[in-house]
Subunit: 255 residues, 2 copies
């Protein structure tokens, strides 16, 4: 038990420090990837519910117990998939909003980021459900996922920081407690030592949280079927709301 965790730790640091040193390490990394790939394949077909360690192992031509050398449990495999999924949406949003090398007006970047998120979600509904639906394991390891999960909101924050918009209309005044939370949020340091948004007006940061919530609220409602009776092809409603949110943020018009 104790020795197990020690080896796991040693292996972890080794891999972290130097990728693919020996043949064994290389094989290990490769197989880990293959397991995740096959798992993702099955996830895309049947959903997280149906994903089974045994069938993944079967498909890879190994026996189920061997798989436990790579992932300590089914939940750990799912957690790995969760992180990958966060990174996938995050990368997609980054590419859409920041791919053009400083190109594009803020409103256009906002539009592109929103559509990148929605398109990715529609293309990978089960992966989306895995990360933005009900948390499957008993409230899984948070710390490993936060960095990846923060990538999409960080895209938004970067747009706001570089624009520093001033909304056309006022909202309710921030309460003292909320202002404190927002200030602390802006001062939070990312893993790479930067502060998130120390320069952003708290009012703007707050609106950022609102549109972030609205964006994923819409995508979730669409994918999880809450819109079926109302705005069934959701495209136009989505586009319209994205524009409305841009107004709400105060992003300058580019029509």
């Amino acid at each position: 038990m104790l020795s197990e965790s020690c080896t796991a730790l040693a292996r972890g640091t080794l891999v972290g420090m130097n990728a693919s040193r020996t043949a064994r390490d290389r094989a290990r990394a490769e197989l880990t990837q293959e397991i995740k790939n096959e798992a993702r394949r099955q996830l895309a077909v049947d959903g997280a519910q149906k994903l089974s360690l045994r069938s993944v192992a079967r498909e890879l031509g190994m026996v189920s117990s061997a798989l436990y050398r790579y992932f300590a449990s089914r939940d750990e495999l799912l957690t790995a998939l969760i992180i990958d999924a966060y990174d996938a949406v995050g990368a997609q949003a980054e590419k859409a909003a920041e791919g053009g090398e400083e190109g594009g007006a803020p409103r256009e970047r906002w539009r592109k980021a929103c559509h990148a998120v929605r398109d990715w979600a529609r293309a990978n509904p089960h992966e989306y459900a895995l990360i933005y639906g009900s948390p499957i394991p008993g409230y899984a390891a948070p710390q490993d996922t936060v960095a990846s999960a923060a990538r999409v909101p960080m895209v938004l924050i970067r747009i706001l920081r570089e624009t520093n918009p001033s909304p056309a209309f006022e909202g309710p005044p921030l309460t003292e407690g909320l202002a404190g939370q927002l200030r602390a949020l802006g001062e939070q340091v990312t893993p790479d030592g930067e502060r998130i948004a120390p320069d952003l007006p708290l009012e703007t940061l707050n609106r950022g949280l609102v549109v972030w919530t609205q964006l994923f609220g819409m995508v979730s409602f669409e994918l999880f079927g809450q819109f079926v009776g109302s705005v069934d092809p959701t495209d136009e409603f989505f586009d319209h709301t994205v524009e409305q949110l841009a107004d709400f943020l105060g992003l300058p018009p580019t029509r």
Copy 2:
């Protein structure tokens, strides 16, 4: 097989026409309730993932196969719980917004409805996840659930209809397609023959959809852990946003 479905149909119509005719029917209805209650109990503790027919049966002192006389599958039990959950939030929201017998300004009713939803969700997180999280069965029977699922949005629509607010600021113009969808939505007839909102301006109806999405987006983000790093006690952010949404709707201030 064929005879099974026939009896199921016959039973269904019987129950539908006249509740608790014979002692057998009464016992059946009672046991069905007890099964759901026990299932809901286990759901609240361990989540939908862990809910097992066998343990429900065990707890009720019956054998697992007997349970299949009442629910054809695990998914069917879950679907029953889903409908009950929709009805529970719906009732809660109705009571909060409409309990005071026409009492209360629209803005106050909106506030109360929002808090009713959030409070119910926080009190029954697993039930909330069941209905607003990732759809668990392979995209379950929609038709049975829509009436119950519509109760919360209907509360909102009723507030809007009785207020007919005119928002303080304009949004982007509705595109033709979106306007058409909204018009069709307003003309939709409920099971009791009424039209949903034929009199509501499309612009208002659209804003209703937005705030509906935002409300559940916030609650989901809070319960599913997306807010942990940012606005962790979510109370103040929630209150503030509810107010902001009321402004967005154009509900008259009551401060």
